[in-house]
C-alpha cells in the first residue's frame, strides 16, 4: 500500500471542500469563480478515476481502507473504505459535478460565489456518504448533504422554493433521527463500544450483541425509514416533485442522480448488510411498496403537464425498480439494482440538464408551451431523444441492462413481482415518448419558439459525456458489473441458504 492508495479516499472526499474554502476568499468576479469551480470538480473527477483503475476486483471486502481514531469518547473513528458498490457511486458523483458546474454557467448569475461553494460542499458530503465506514461519520455526511441542498433549492430555485426547501429538509431530517437512534443503540450495545460498520457487522453475525433479537426489528425499521424517505419509496415521496420542480438545474441533477441513490445505497449497505434476517422478514411489504411506486409513479408522470415534474415522478418509478431488485435477494436483482442506480444517475442527470437548457431559453417547463421544437433546435432534439431512449430502456443503452437484471431477479424471487414490475417498462416508454412527441414533433405552435437558439458549445460539452456514458454502459455493462458482482455476492452471502430455495420455487 503506497501513500496514494492510503489517502486517496480522503483526497477525493475533501478536495471539493478545500475548493469551497478557497472560493470563500475569491473576489466576486463571477467568471473566475466558475472556472475555478470547474477546475476543482474536474480535478476531483480525475482523482476519483484512480479508484476504478486500481480497484482489486478479486478481493471481497473494503479497499483503500483508512482507519484512524478520531475521537476517543465516544469512540469514533475516521474510517473510510469502498467496495464495488460504493466505488461507482463515488465516480458517478464526481462525474456529474463538473457537468453541473457547466450547466449552471449562465443560469446562475446572482450570488454566484455562494452557489458554487454550496455545490462543492454538497459534493464533499455526497462522496463522504459513500466512503464512510464509521456509522457516526456516515451519519454526519448524511446530514451534511441536507444543508447545502436545501440552501440550493431555497436560494436559487423558482416558484415556491422556500416551501420546497423546508419540506425537503424536514422530511429527511425527521426520518434520519430514527436512523440516529438505531445507530446509537448499536453503539451502546457493542462491547467495546464502536461505531465501526465492519465491527458491528461482525458482532451481529456472531451473535455477540445482547438483546439484539428483540431490538433488531426496530433497528431495521429505524434505518429503513431514513432510507425510504430518501429513495423515495411510495408513501414518503411527496417531497420529491416539489423539490425537483423548484430546484435549480444543478440541484435537480445532483438530487435525482446522487441524493436518491444515498437511500438505495443505505438499504444495500446497512439494511441488508447488518440485518439480513429482518430484511428477509420485511421484504414482502417493502416490495409491494416498491411495486406501487413503479406503477403509481409512472401513472402520475403520464399526466404531468410540467416536464420537470414528469421526470421527477419517473424517478420515483425507476427507483422502485432498484428497491424491487434489492429486496429480491438474488444476484441478478442486486446487480441490476446497482446498475439502475448508475444508469438512472447518468440518464436522469442528462434529462434534467436538457430541461434546464430549455428553461434558460423559455423560462417554463410546461409541455403545452412547446411543440415542434425539433425544427428550431435539431441538435437539442437529438440529444434529448438519445437520453429519453436510454431512460426508457432501449437495448444497447444503459437503462436496459439494469432493468433487465432487476426484473429477472424479481421473476426468480416471485413471479408476480416480476410481472407487475415489468409493466413499469411499458409505462416509462409511454410517458417519456409521449412527452417527447408533444414537445418536439409536429408544427411549432408558439411563434416565440421559432427563434430558440440551438445548443451552444458549452452545453454540448456538458451533454456529450452523459450520452457517451449512456451508450458505453449499454454496450459494455461488464466493465461495471465485474466490480459490482463480487460486492453484491458478498452482501448476499448471509442470504444464500434461502436465496437458493427461492430460486427453486
Amino acid at each position: 500500500m503506497n501513500w496514494l492508495d492510503n489517502n486517496i479516499l480522503t483526497l477525493i472526499t475533501f478536495a471539493p471542500a478545500v475548493g469551497a474554502v478557497l472560493l470563500l476568499f475569491f473576489p466576486r468576479r463571477d467568471r473566475d469563480i466558475r472556472v475555478f469551480a470547474l477546475v476543482i470538480s474536474l480535478l476531483t473527477f480525475v482523482l476519483s478515476l484512480h479508484l476504478p483503475a486500481h480497484f482489486n476486483r478479486g478481493l471481497a471486502g473494503f479497499q483503500f481502507d483508512k482507519d484512524v481514531s478520531w475521537i476517543s469518547s465516544p469512540n469514533i473513528h475516521y474510517h473510510m473504505g469502498i467496495d464495488g458498490i460504493s466505488l461507482w457511486l463515488i465516480v458517478l458523483t464526481t462525474f456529474l459535478t463538473p457537468l453541473c458546474v457547466l450547466i449552471s454557467w449562465n443560469s446562475i448569475h446572482d450570488r454566484v460565489k455562494e452557489f458554487f461553494i454550496l455545490l462543492l460542499i454538497l459534493e464533499t458530503s455526497l462522496i463522504g456518504v459513500f466512503t464512510s465506514l464509521d456509522l457516526f461519520l456516515f451519519y454526519f455526511f448524511w446530514e451534511a448533504t441536507l444543508i447545502p441542498m436545501a440552501l440550493l433549492i431555497g436560494m436559487y430555485g423558482h416558484g415556491r422554493k422556500v416551501y420546497a426547501a423546508v419540506k425537503f429538509f424536514l422530511y429527511t431530517m425527521i426520518a434520519s433521527v430514527f436512523m440516529l437512534a438505531a445507530i446509537l443503540w448499536l453503539y451502546a450495545s457493542t462491547n467495546p463500544h464502536t461505531f465501526d460498520f465492519v465491527a458491528i457487522q461482525n458482532a451481529i453475525q456472531h451473535g455477540e450483541l445482547a438483546n439484539l433479537a428483540g431490538a433488531a426489528r426496530w433497528l431495521f425499521l429505524g434505518f429503513f425509514v431514513a432510507f425510504a424517505v430518501k429513495v423515495p419509496l411510495f408513501p414518503f415521496h411527496t417531497w420529491l416533485p416539489d423539490a425537483h420542480v423548484e430546484a435549480p438545474t444543478a440541484g435537480s441533477v445532483l438530487l435525482a442522480s446522487v441524493l436518491l441513490k444515498m437511500g438505495t445505497y443505505g438499504m444495500l449497505r446497512f439494511n441488508l448488510g447488518l440485518f439480513p434476517v429482518q430484511s428477509r422478514a420485511n421484504a414482502s411489504w417493502i416490495v409491494v411498496l416498491a411495486l406501487i411506486g413503479i406503477v403509481y409513479g409512472a401513472l402520475v408522470a403520464m399526466v404531468q403537464p410540467n416536464m420537470k415534474k414528469l421526470i421527477a415522478y419517473s424517478s420515483i418509478s425507476h427507483l422502485g425498480f432498484v428497491v424491487l431488485g434489492i429486496f429480491s435477494f438474488t444476484q441478478a436483482g442486486l446487480s441490476g439494482a446497482m446498475f439502475i442506480m448508475l444508469a438512472h444517475g447518468v440518464s436522469t442527470g442528462g434529462l434534467f440538464m436538457l430541461t434546464g437548457i430549455l428553461y434558460e431559453r423559455r423560462h417554463t417547463y410546461e409541455i403545452s408551451e412547446f411543440g415542434g421544437l425539433a425544427t428550431p433546435m435539431p441538435t437539442y432534439a437529438s440529444f434529448f431523444l438519445f437520453i429519453v431512449l436510454a431512460s426508457v430502456g432501449l437495448p444497447l443503452l444503459n437503462g436496459f441492462v439494469g432493468e433487465f437484471l432487476a426484473l429477472s431477479g424479481a421473476f426468480q424471487a416471485k413471479m408476480w413481482w416480476g410481472v407487475v414490475g415489468a409493466t413499469g417498462v411499458i409505462w416509462s416508454a409511454c410517458y417519456l415518448l409521449w412527452m417527447y412527441q408533444r414537445v418536439f414533433f409536429g408544427i411549432v405552435k408558439h411563434t416565440e419558439n421559432n427563434s430558440l437558439p440551438d445548443l451552444q458549445l458549452r452545453e454540448r460539452v456538458a451533454l456529450w459525456p452523459t450520452t457517451i456514458m449512456a451508450l458505453a454502459m449499454g454496450v459494455a455493462p461488464l466493465l461495471w458489473l465485474n466490480t459490482i458482482d463480487p460486492a453484491v455476492h458478498n452482501v448476499l452471502a448471509p442470504f444464500t441458504q434461502f436465496a437458493s430455495r427461492v430460486v427453486g420455487q
Partner: protein, 496 residues
C-alpha cells in the same frame, strides 16, 4: 474532610494569592479603568479603556493558565478557595467569554454612541465575581461573588439608557434578581441551621452522617430548595425564567452575549458543587422537574417569537434545561458533560449575540426576524457566520453544540437508573428547536429584503477577532472535543 483545618496557617501565604491571581488581575485592571475614566477626554477614552480592558482579560487568561499548574492546586485562604481542574476550567470559560465580549463591544459602543468607560470596568468586575464563584468553597463567599457578578450585570443591562426597554430591562432584572439572591441567602441560612457550617466540605461531611438513614434533616431539604430557587433564577431555568426574554430584549446585545454565558457558567459551577459535592438531599428530583420544564417551555415559547433577541432568550432557557439533564445523571458522566456544555454553549452564544449586536445597528433597530430577510445577500459573511452558530445551537455534527448534547444525553442514559424519560423529552425538544433556528436561516437566505438599499456595516477588526475566535472554538469543540472533555473529566474525582 476535617483535614481542612489542619493545613490552615495563621496568615495567608503567597501561594494563596496565586490561587486568586486571575481575580486580582481582573480587579486591578477594572480599577485602573475606573480611575482613568474621569480624567480622560470623553471622546477618546472609549478606545483606550477598551484596550486596557482587553489587556486585562488577556492577562487574566494568562494568570489562569499559570494557575492551572498542579502545584498550585489546593485550598487557599483558610479553605475558602479551592483551585483545581474544575475551577480552572470555569475560570477559563468565564474569562474567555469576557475577552470575546470586550472585543465585540468595541464597535458596538461606538455605533450606539455610548460613551461610558465604566462599561469595560463593570465587565471586568463582573468577571471577578463569576470567576470567584467557581473556586469558592464557602456558601457566604459564593453569595458575595454572586452579588458582585449580579450587580455588574444589572447595571450593564441598562446601558442603553436612552432606550426605555433597556432601562426596563435593568430595573426588572435588578428587582427580580435581588429577590432571587435573597432566596439563595435564606437557603444558606437554613443550611447553616441544619449542619452548623457554611463551608461546603463541612456541610458535606455533616450530611454524610445522614447518608445511612436515607433522608437528611428537613432544614437541609428546605435550604437546598431555596438555594436552588436563587441559582435557578440566575441560569434562567424554568420555572424561574420569566425575566429572561424581557431582560435579553432590552439589554445591549454584547451584554446579553455576556450574561447568557459567563454568569450562567459560574452559577452552573456552584450548582455542580451543591448537587454533587454536598450530595444535596432532594436535588435530583428538583433538577428533573426544572430540566423538563425549562426545555419544554423555552422551546415552545421560542417557536412564536419574532424578535431575534427574545427568540434566543427562550432558546437559552431551553439550553439551561438540556444542561440540567447532566445534573440529574451520575457524577462520573454528568460533571464532564455539564462542563463541556457550558463551554460550547458559551462559544456559540457569545458569537451569535456578537453578530446580532453588529447587525442591530444604531439604537438596535434591526432585531426582528423580518429585518434579517435577505441578509444572506446583503452581508454574506455575517449571514454565514450566524448560520454556523445557529447550526451549532441546533446540534448539527462537527459543531460544539452537537457533542454538548451528545454527552449530556449519553450521560443521562448511563448507570443503573437511566433517565430515559428525560432524554426522550430532550430529544423531542431538540427536534422542535431546530424549527425556530432554521427559521432564521431560511429568512436570511430565502426571503428578499424589504429595502435592498440598507447596507450592513462592514465588520470591524475587534468584532472580526471575536467572531473568528468563537467560530474557532465552536468548530474545535465539534471536531476535536477530546482534550476539553478529558480536562473536564479530571474534576470528577475532585468534586466528590
Amino acid at each position: 474532610m476535617m483535614a481542612v483545618f489542619q493545613t490552615v496557617p495563621a496568615l495567608p501565604q503567597s501561594v494563596d494569592y496565586v490561587r486568586i491571581l486571575p481575580e486580582i488581575v481582573l480587579s486591578i485592571f477594572g480599577m485602573i479603568i475606573m480611575l482613568l475614566d474621569p480624567v480622560m477626554d470623553e471622546r477618546r477614552s472609549q478606545r483606550m479603556l477598551g484596550l486596557i480592558a482587553l489587556v486585562g482579560a488577556i492577562a487574566a487568561l494568562a494568570a489562569t493558565v499559570y494557575q492551572a499548574q498542579v502545584r498550585f492546586w489546593g485550598l487557599g485562604f483558610f479553605g475558602m478557595i479551592k483551585v483545581d481542574a474544575f475551577s480552572v476550567f470555569f475560570h477559563f470559560v468565564v474569562i474567555a467569554v469576557t475577552l470575546l465580549v470586550i472585543l465585540s463591544s468595541y464597535e458596538y459602543m461606538e455605533v450606539q454612541q455610548i460613551r461610558a468607560g465604566e462599561y469595560y470596568g463593570l465587565i471586568l468586575f463582573g468577571a471577578v465575581g463569576m470567576a470567584l464563584m467557581s473556586s469558592a468553597m464557602e456558601l457566604v463567599l459564593i453569595f458575595i461573588a454572586l452579588e458582585i457578578s449580579s450587580i455588574s450585570t444589572y447595571i450593564l443591562a441598562g446601558f442603553r439608557r436612552r432606550s426605555a426597554i433597556s432601562s426596563e430591562s435593568s430595573v426588572k432584572y435588578f428587582l427580580l434578581g435581588s429577590f432571587a439572591t435573597a432566596f439563595f441567602l435564606y437557603g444558606v441560612a437554613l443550611m447553616f441551621g441544619a449542619t452548623g457550617s457554611t463551608s461546603i466540605d463541612l456541610i458535606s461531611a455533616a450530611l454524610a452522617d445522614y447518608a445511612g438513614t436515607g433522608h437528611g434533616p428537613l432544614l437541609a431539604y428546605l435550604g437546598v430548595a431555596l438555594m436552588f430557587v436563587g441559582l435557578g433564577f440566575k441560569v434562567a431555568a424554568a420555572p424561574f425564567h420569566v425575566w429572561t426574554p424581557d431582560v435579553y430584549e432590552g439589554a445591549p446585545s454584547p451584554v446579553v452575549g455576556f450574561m447568557s454565558t459567563a454568569p450562567k457558567a459560574a452559577v452552573f459551577a456552584v450548582l455542580l458543587r451543591i448537587i454533587f459535592e454536598i450530595h444535596a438531599p432532594g436535588g435530583p428530583w428538583l433538577i428533573w422537574v426544572a430540566a423538563a420544564l425549562s426545555m419544554s417551555i423555552g422551546n415552545i415559547a421560542a417557536l412564536v417569537q419574532d424578535n431575534v433577541k427574545r427568540l434566543l432568550a427562550y432558546s437559552s432557557i431551553a439550553h439551561a434545561g438540556y444542561l440540567l439533564i447532566a445534573f440529574a445523571s451520575l457524577p462520573a458522566n454528568g460533571i464532564p458533560a455539564a462542563m463541556f456544555y457550558t463551554a460550547s454553549y458559551a462559544a456559540m452564544n457569545v458569537g451569535a449575540f456578537a453578530v446580532i449586536g453588529h447587525f442591530a445597528g444604531a439604537g438596535e433597530r434591526f432585531v426582528t426576524l423580518e429585518d434579517y430577510a435577505g441578509l444572506g445577500k446583503r452581508s454574506p459573511v455575517l449571514a454565514a457566520i450566524l448560520t454556523i452558530f445557529l447550526l451549532s445551537l441546533i446540534g448539527i455534527p462537527i459543531t460544539g453544540g452537537f457533542f454538548a448534547k451528545f454527552y449530556v444525553f449519553s450521560a443521562a442514559l448511563q448507570g443503573s437508573h437511566p433517565l430515559v424519560g428525560l432524554v426522550i423529552i430532550g430529544v423531542i425538544n431538540s427536534a422542535v428547536a431546530s424549527y425556530y433556528y432554521l427559521r432564521i436561516i431560511v429568512v436570511m437566505y430565502m426571503r428578499e429584503s424589504r429595502d435592498e438599499e440598507s447596507p450592513v456595516a462592514p465588520i470591524s477588526t475587534g468584532l472580526g477577532f471575536a467572531l473568528g475566535l468563537s467560530l474557532a472554538a465552536t468548530f474545535f469543540l465539534g471536531v476535536y472535543p477530546n482534550p476539553v472533555l478529558k480536562y473536564a473529566a479530571l474534576s470528577v474525582g475532585l468534586l466528590h
